[in-house]
C-alpha cells in the first residue's frame, strides 16, 4: 500500500482534537465494568461497548457517525476492487522468524499463510504456520491497541513525542549514553542489529538487554558450554528415524515449530508397509503437543528429566558405542525412579539408528541437559544429518541470556543506575520473574519510554507510551534460525500511526532517515552493494525472502567440549509436587487479548478462556480434587490462587501452569464479562525456576470456578461396557504391515475388531434411486491422523478465513462454540485401572460433506442442499433456524448463531473479515463449506487459464484454509474425480477410512488411520 494513505473516519479524528483523543483512549465508560458483571446485562454491555467504539469516532454524539468513504481518485496500482492481493512478508514470534504470505482485501490484511519458499535449503516447510501466526492478523485490529502516544498517562501526539525524544537523545549523547538502557525483545532483524551497532557507537556507555519471557537461557548456556559459543540447533526431522524429546515440545511450542512439525511428519508418512517411519520418545512431566504424538512417553516429573538424560547417557556409554566428553562421563549413571528397561530400549534404538537419531532437550531443562543432548547427538553421528547448529541471529554472541539480562536490568534499576529506559516492545512488568519485583524497579528509572501495543502492565507507568506498529504495518527484515532472510513488507499503513522498533531506534539515534522503508532498504543496499540492487530488491519483495546464501555463518560442527562451567544436579526423585510452566496459544501473554486464540481449545485440556492448573488423575485422587475446584498453589512462599483441571497423562505430582493469562487490562473480548482472563501464573515464576519449580504445595481453597471446555467426553469408549467407537482407528506399524487394511475393517486395536454393524452399511437396496453427482469436479478431503499433531493451526486458519465468530467463555460453557473444524481429542488407555497411562489421539473434524447428507433432507426450506460437485452447501439467507439439520448431523459439525455474535464483535475487528465469505447473522446455521470461496476462485483461475495444464494446475492448487495452514500437510483436498490428485491418492490408500459408514451417509471427508511406531522391545 502507498504510504501516504491514511484511514480516518471523522473530521475529529483528522483534526485530532483533544476531546477526540480522550475518547480514543477511553474504550470503556466506567459504568460498564460494574454492569458487565451481571450476566443479564451482557447485551447491554455489548451495546455500550459498540456505542463506545462509535463514540470514539464522533465524541459526544449519540448516533452512529456517518461513514465517509473516499473513492479511489488515484487508484493504487494493480488493485482491482474485489480481488484479493497477496503480499510476501515475514515476522518473528519469540525470536523465531518465518516467511509469510498475506492476503489483503482492498488494503485490509485478512489472512496469513506460510511462505513455503522462505525455508532454508534442506529444511522442510509447507505453507503451514502455527495458530499464533494465523491469529496475529487479529492483533492488528485489536480495538484496544494504543492509538496515540501517551505522555505520563495523558494523550499526546507524535510530534510532541518526537521532540521530547530528540531532546532526551541529545542530553544522553552528551553523557555518552550513561544511564541509557534499552530493553528489546529477541528480534532477529539484521537492520536492527546494524542499528544496534550504531547505537553502541553513539552511546558508548549505554546498555542493551534482550529479553524474551519464554527464555532460552538454558539452551544458550548449555550449548555455549558444549560449543564454546552460543549456537542454536536446527533440526532436520525429515531425516530422523528415532527422536528422543527430553521435555521438549518441539512440535508444539518450542523452537522452529513449523519446520519441526513438517519434517517430523515427512518422516512418518507411511502409505505402505514398506515405508520407513520414525519413532518418537517423549520424556516429560507436562503433557505437551509433542508428548501427545509420542510413540512412547515416559511420565516423570520435569525435574527428573535430567536424571533420565544421564541414565540414557550411561546406557549409551556402555560398550563405548557413543563417545561423550570426559567431564560428562562420571555424571552419566542410572537414577532411582527411572525405569531402566525404558532407558535401555531407548538407548538401543538410538544406537541402532546412528545418523538418524536425535535427542532434543527442552527449554525448561537445565543447561547440562542441553549440553548432554548435544554431546549425545554428536556421539550418535547426528550432526550434519538430523541436527545443525547455527549462530544466534537474535542477539550478539557476547550478550547474556534472557533471564540473566532481565535480572541484571532489575539490578541496575534498583541501584538507581538507569536514567532512561527504553522498552522496545515487550511487557516486562507482566512477564519478568516474580522475584525481580520488576514493576517496582521499573518505577525507579527517571525516564521510561515504552514502545508498546497496549497501555499494559509496563507502559501504564511509562513517561512515554508509544504505539508500536504491527508487523503488517511496518517495514523490517527477519532472519530465521537457519539463516534465511525474509523481508517484512507492510500491507497496510499504521492504523494508529504506530512506529516499529527500528524506526524508534533511528529516531533515538537522530538518523536523518527514520522511516522503516529507508532503514531496511539502505541496510541491504549497503550490504549487497548498489550494483543491480533494485532488481534484487524487487525480487526479494516479490518472493518474500532473500535469495542466495544463508545469512551469517554456515552451520558448524565441532566435537562438544563438555560441561565447561555448567553444573548438573538432578533433583532427587521425590513424592512432593512441582509446578511446570508451559506456554500455549497466548505465548508469553502477548496474544492475551486475541479472541481467536483464547477460544481455541487447549490441546489436551480443551479448556478455553482460562488456564487452569492441570493435574493428573492420580494427583487429583490423592488430594481429593475435582475439576473446577479452586486451589492455592504455593511455591517458595509465593502463592497463586487458581482452579484445577484434571488431565490424565501428566506425571504424578506435576502441576502444569500455562503462561500468558491473567493479563491485567480490560479485555474487548466478546461475551466476556470480566476484565481478566485466567490467572497470572507468573507470580510463581522466579529467575531460578522459570521453567519448573519443585517444592510446590497444593491445597483446596474451597469453592469452585467455572471452566469452559469444548469437549467434555474424552474417550471413544462410550461406557456401559460397550465397544469403543471406531472414530479414530489406529494400529502399530507392525500391525499395519500385517494387515494394511485394518482401518477399513474398523479395527482400532489389534485383536478387538469392532462390531461389523459399526463399519459397514447393510447391503439392502435404498428404496430410492440415489442421486448421482455429475459435476465437472468432485471435491473431497483426506486427513492423515498419523501426522496430525493436533496443533490447532487449522482451527484458527478457519476462523480467519471464514469470519467465524468468537463467542466467549460463557457461550462455550453452554456448548455453543462456533468452530467449523474442531480438534477432537481422545485418550486411549489399555488399563482402566491406570488412568494416567494414556495415549492421545487428535482428530480434526469439520463438515464431512456427506453425499447422502442427513442434514439436507430435514431442512424445511431447502436452506442446505448439495452442489453437483458434491459440496454440502448452506444458504444462510434462506435459513430460518429450525436447527433440525444440526440435530440430524451425525458428526455434530453444524453451528448455530444463538445470538447475533458477528454483530457484537468490535468495529475494528470487522476489518479482519474476509469479504468473500458471508458474515452470518443471528438465528442461522453455519458450517464448513470446504472453503467454497477458494474453490470458486480456483475455478475462475482455471477458466481463465489457457493451456490444459494450467487449467488443471489451477484446480489442483485449490486449498482450503485448514489444509493450507497445516504445518504437516496432514489435510489434503482436491478433485477426487481426477485419480492423479493428492487427495485421490490418499483416498486410494490402504489406511483410508470413512466415519460412520454404517449410516450410508457417504462422507466426502475421509481419514487416513493413525499408525504408531512403538518399540517392539517395550511391548505395545
Amino acid at each position: 500500500m502507498s504510504n501516504d494513505k491514511r484511514y480516518w473516519r471523522s473530521l475529529e479524528e483528522l483534526e485530532n482534537t483533544p476531546a477526540f483523543q480522550e475518547a480514543l483512549l477511553k474504550e470503556f465508560p466506567e459504568e460498564v465494568e460494574a454492569d458487565a458483571v451481571d450476566t443479564t446485562t451482557r447485551r447491554h454491555f455489548l451495546g455500550v461497548m459498540g456505542a463506545s467504539i462509535a463514540m470514539t469516532s464522533l465524541a459526544g454524539c449519540v448516533r452512529r457517525p456517518e461513514q465517509k468513504i473516499l473513492p479511489y481518485t488515484r487508484a493504487p496500482e494493480d488493485l482491482i476492487p474485489g480481488v484479493a492481493q497477496y503480499y510476501a512478508t515475514g515476522t518473528s514470534i519469540g525470536g523465531r522468524a518465518i516467511g509469510l504470505v498475506v492476503e489483503a482485501h482492498e488494503g485490509r490484511p485478512t489472512k496469513i499463510e506460510g511462505n513455503p519458499g522462505s525455508a532454508a535449503a534442506g529444511v522442510v516447510r509447507s505453507g503451514g504456520t502455527t495458530a499464533l501466526h494465523q491469529a496475529s492478523v487479529l492483533n492488528l485490529y485489536d480495538p484496544q491497541r494504543l492509538r496515540l502516544p501517551m505522555a505520563a498517562g495523558k494523550p499526546s501526539d507524535w510530534s510532541a513525542a518526537t521532540t521530547a525524544l530528540k531532546a532526551k537523545a541529545e542530553a544522553l549523547k552528551a553523557a555518552s549514553g550513561a544511564g541509557l538502557v534499552i530493553l528489546s525483545e529477541a528480534l532477529p532483524s539484521p537492520t536492527l542489529a546494524k542499528l544496534r551497532e550504531r547505537f553502541h557507537t553513539a552511546y558508548p556507555q549505554a546498555k542493551w538487554f534482550t529479553y524474551e519471557p519464554l527464555a532460552e537461557d538454558n539452551e544458550r548456556t548449555g550449548l555455549k558450554a558444549a560449543w564454546g559459543e552460543p549456537v542454536v540447533p536446527v533440526f532436520r526431522l525429515a531425516q530422523a528415524r528415532v527422536v528422543v524429546s527430553l521435555d521438549s515440545d518441539f512440535l508444539g511450542t518450542e523452537g522452529d515449530v513449523v519446520e519441526n512439525a513438517a519434517g517430523w511428519a515427512r518422516s512418518r508418512k507411511v502409505n505402505t508397509g514398506e515405508d520407513r517411519m520414525s519413532r518418537l520418545y517423549a520424556i516429560e512431566g507436562h503433557l505437551s503437543i509433542t508428548g501427545t504424538n509420542a510413540d512412547h512417553r515416559l511420565r516423570v516429573k520435569t525435574s527428573q528429566v535430567e536424571a533420565f538424560a544421564w541414565a540414557l547417557a550411561a546406557e549409551l556409554l556402555k560398550d563405548n558405542k557413543v563417545v561423550l566428553p570426559a567431564d560428562m562421563v562420571p555424571l552419566a549413571k542410572a537414577a532411582p525412579g527411572i525405569d531402566p528397561k525404558f532407558v535401555a530400549a531407548v538407548a538401543a534404538d538410538l544406537q541402532g539408528n546412528r545418523g538418524g537419531a536425535l535427542v532434543i532437550a527442552g527449554r525448561r531443562q537445565p543447561p547440562a541437559v542441553h549440553a548432554l543432548a548435544a554431546a549425545m547427538n554428536a556421539g550418535l553421528e547426528s550432526h550434519g544429518s538430523t541436527v545443525y547448529y547455527y549462530p544466534d541471529h537474535r542477539r550478539p554472541a557476547t550478550e547474556n541470556g534472557d533471564l540473566a539480562n532481565i535480572k541484571e536490568l532489575a539490578g541496575l534499576l534498583n541501584g538507581g543506575a538507569v536514567d532512561t529506559l527504553v522498552v522496545l516492545g515487550g511487557n516486562p512488568a507482566y512477564t519478568a520473574p516474580a522475584d525481580l519485583g520488576f514493576t517496582a524497579a521499573f518505577a525507579k528509572a527517571k525516564t521510561k519510554i515504552c514502545l508498546c501495543d497496549f497501555v499494559d502492565e509496563t507502559s501504564k507507568a511509562a513517561d512515554w507510551a508509544l504505539p508500536r506498529a504491527h508487523f503488517l504495518e511496518a517495514w523490517g527484515d527477519v532472519v530465521s534460525t537457519d539463516g534465511k532472510v525474509t523481508l517484512q513488507q507492510p500491507v497496510i499503513s499504521p492504523l494508529w500511526g504506530g512506529k516499529s522498533e527500528i524506526e524508534l531506534l533511528a529516531l533515538l539515534l537522530g538518523e536523518t532517515e527514520t522511516d522503516g522503508y529507508s532503514l531496511v532498504r539502505n541496510y541491504w543496499k549497503g550490504r549487497e552493494g548498489a550494483v543491480s540492487f533494485y532488481k534484487k530488491w524487487r525480487k526479494w519483495l516479490a518472493d518474500g525472502f532473500r535469495t542466495g546464501d544463508e545469512f551469517g555463518v554456515v552451520p558448524t560442527y565441532k566435537q562438544p567440549a563438555g560441561l565447561a562451567g555448567v553444573t548438573s544436579s538432578p533433583a532427587p526423585a521425590g513424592e512432593g509436587f512441582e509446578v511446570t510452566f508451559y506456554d500455549g496459544f497466548l505465548h508469553d501473554g502477548r496474544f492475551g487479548n486475541n479472541a481467536w486464540l483464547l477460544e481455541t481449545p487447549d490441546i489436551v485440556s480443551k479448556v478455553v478462556w482460562d488456564n487452569p492448573a492441570l493435574v493428573n488423575v492420580k494427583t487429583a485422587r490423592d488430594l481429593g480434587l475435582a475439576d473446577e475446584d479452586r486451589v492455592t498453589i504455593e511455591v517458595g512462599g509465593r502463592k497463586l490462587e487458581t482452579v484445577v483441571c484434571i488431565v490424565p497423562g501428566l506425571a504424578d505430582g506435576n502441576i502444569s501452569l500455562q503462561l500468558g493469562f491473567g493479563r491485567d487490562f480490560n479485555s474487548f473480548l466478546p461475551y466476556h464479562e470480566s476484565g481478566k482472563v485466567g490467572f497470572d501464573v507468573n507470580v510463581l515464576r522466579t529467575v531460578d525456576a522459570a521453567g519448573f519449580a519443585a517444592g510446590a504445595k497444593l491445597s483446596k481453597t474451597g469453592g469452585t470456578y467455572p471452566l469452559a471446555k469444548t469437549q467434555v467426553y474424552a474417550k471413544q469408549d462410550p461406557g456401559f461396557g460397550y465397544a469403543a467407537r471406531p472414530m479414530v482407528r489406529e494400529a502399530t506399524l507392525e500391525e499395519f504391515k500385517k494387515n494394511p487394511k485394518f482401518a477399513k475393517e474398523g479395527i482400532i486395536e489389534e485383536g478387538k475388531p469392532r462390531p461389523q454393524a459399526m463399519v459397514v452399511h447393510p447391503p439392502e437396496q435404498a428404496i430410492y434411486q440415489e442421486l448421482t453427482y455429475d459435476g465437472e469436479f468432485q471435491w473431497g478431503m483426506a486427513i492423515d491422523l498419523t501426522t496430525c499433531t493436533g496443533c490447532g493451526s487449522c482451527m484458527v486458519a478457519c476462523v480467519a478465513e471464514n469470519n467465524l465468530s468468537m463467542v466467549g467463555k460463557d457461550q462455550v460453557r453452554r456448548g455453543r462454540e462456533m468452530h467449523w473444524i474442531r480438534m477432537d481429542r481422545y485418550f486411549v488407555s489399555d488399563d482402566e485401572t491406570k488412568p494416567d497411562e494414556i495415549q492421545v489421539v487428535h482428530q480434526p473434524l469439520g463438515c464431512h460433506h456427506c453425499e447422502n447428507a442427513p442434514c439436507e433432507n430435514v431442512c424445511p426450506v431447502q436452506a442446505t442442499s448439495h452442489s453437483p460437485e458434491g459440496l454440502n452447501d448452506m444458504a444462510y439467507n434462506r435459513c430460518i433456524g429450525t436447527r433440525y439439520c444440526a440435530n440430524n448431523c451425525p458428526f455434530k459439525v453444524r453451528r448455530f448463531n444463538f445470538y447475533h455474535y458477528s454483530k457484537d464483535a468490535p468495529e475494528t475487528v470487522h476489518m479482519a473479515r474476509n469479504p468473500n465469505v458471508t458474515v452470518r447473522f443471528r438465528g442461522v446455521i453455519e458450517k464448513c463449506t470446504y472453503c467454497v470461496q477458494r474453490i470458486n476462485l480456483g475455478r475462475q483461475a482455471s477458466k481463465a487459464a489457457e493451456s490444459p495444464q494450467a487449467k488443471k494446475a489451477a484446480i489442483d492448487a485449490i486449498t482450503p484454509a485448514c489444509a493450507q495452514a497445516c504445518p504437516t500437510t496432514s489435510i489434503v483436498f482436491g478433485n477426487i474425480k481426477d485419480k492423479e490428485t493428492k487427495v485421490s491418492k490418499a483416498k486410494a490408500a490402504d489406511r483410508n477410512y470413512r466415519l460412520l459408514t454404517e449410516l450410508n451417509v457417504k462422507p466426502r471427508t475421509s481419514y487416513l488411520a493413525k499408525v504408531r511406531n512403538p518399540n517392539p522391545g517395550l511391548g505395545a
Binding site: E770, L771, N852, A853, C855, E856, C859, Q862, S865, P868
Partner: protein, 178 residues
C-alpha cells in the same frame, strides 16, 4: 305497512315421538314444503319426511380429490420442475416423501368440503326467518318440537292444513306471516 302475506303454519308437538308421527302424516298426505324443527336431530326423521340422501358426501369427495391432486402436483412441480435442488442424495420427486403432505391436504380440503357444503346446502348464514316472529318458536333450540307448512306447498290450505296438524297432535297451531 302493507298487509302481511301468510308464510305458512306452525304447530308445536309434545315430544319427538309425536313429531316423528306427524312428519309421517304430512309425508303421507303428500306435503312437500313442510319442515320439522327440533333442538336435536330426531332419529328416523329423514325417512319420516321422505328426504333424499344428503349431498354433502359428494362435496367431500370433490374436496378430497382436489386436495390430493393439488398436493401431488405442487410437490412434483415445485421440486422436480420449477426449482430442482439436490437434497440428501434423494430423488427430486418420490411418492414416499410426498405421502404425508398429500394426505393432509386431502383431509383438509375434504373437511372444507364437508363444512362449507353443509353451510351452503343449508343456505346458511340466514339471519332472518318468518318463524322468528312466533314467540314459542324460540324453544326450537331448547325443548320445543315444531312442524311448519309453507303456503308455497301445492297442497297447502290454511284450514285443512291446520286441521291436519291438529289431528296429528299439533298444538298452538299458529299462522305465520311473512
Amino acid at each position: 305497512m302493507a298487509e302481511a302475506r301468510v308464510w305458512g303454519l306452525v304447530a308445536e308437538f309434545e315430544n319427538p315421538a309425536k313429531l316423528l308421527h306427524a312428519a309421517e302424516g304430512l309425508r303421507d298426505a303428500g306435503y312437500k314444503r313442510y319442515e320439522v324443527w327440533s333442538p336435536f336431530p330426531v332419529h328416523g326423521m329423514d325417512n319420516a319426511m321422505g328426504l333424499s340422501r344428503s349431498k354433502v358426501p359428494w362435496f367431500v369427495l370433490g374436496g378430497g380429490l382436489t386436495g390430493m391432486t393439488c398436493a401431488l402436483l405442487l410437490q412434483w412441480w415445485s421440486g422436480a420442475v420449477e426449482y430442482p435442488v439436490m437434497i440428501g442424495g434423494k430423488p427430486l420427486f418420490a411418492f414416499e416423501f410426498a405421502t404425508p403432505v398429500t394426505f393432509e391436504a386431502s383431509v383438509l380440503l375434504s373437511a372444507f368440503g364437508a363444512v362449507f357444503s353443509m353451510i351452503g346446502l343449508n343456505r346458511l348464514p340466514n339471519p332472518y326467518h318468518p318463524l322468528d316472529k312466533v314467540a314459542m318458536f324460540r324453544r326450537s333450540t331448547d325443548d320445543g318440537f315444531f312442524i311448519s307448512i309453507e303456503t308455497r306447498d301445492g297442497k297447502f290450505d290454511l284450514h285443512r292444513s291446520r286441521e291436519l296438524l291438529e289431528s296429528l297432535g299439533g298444538r298452538h297451531v299458529t299462522v305465520v306471516e311473512e
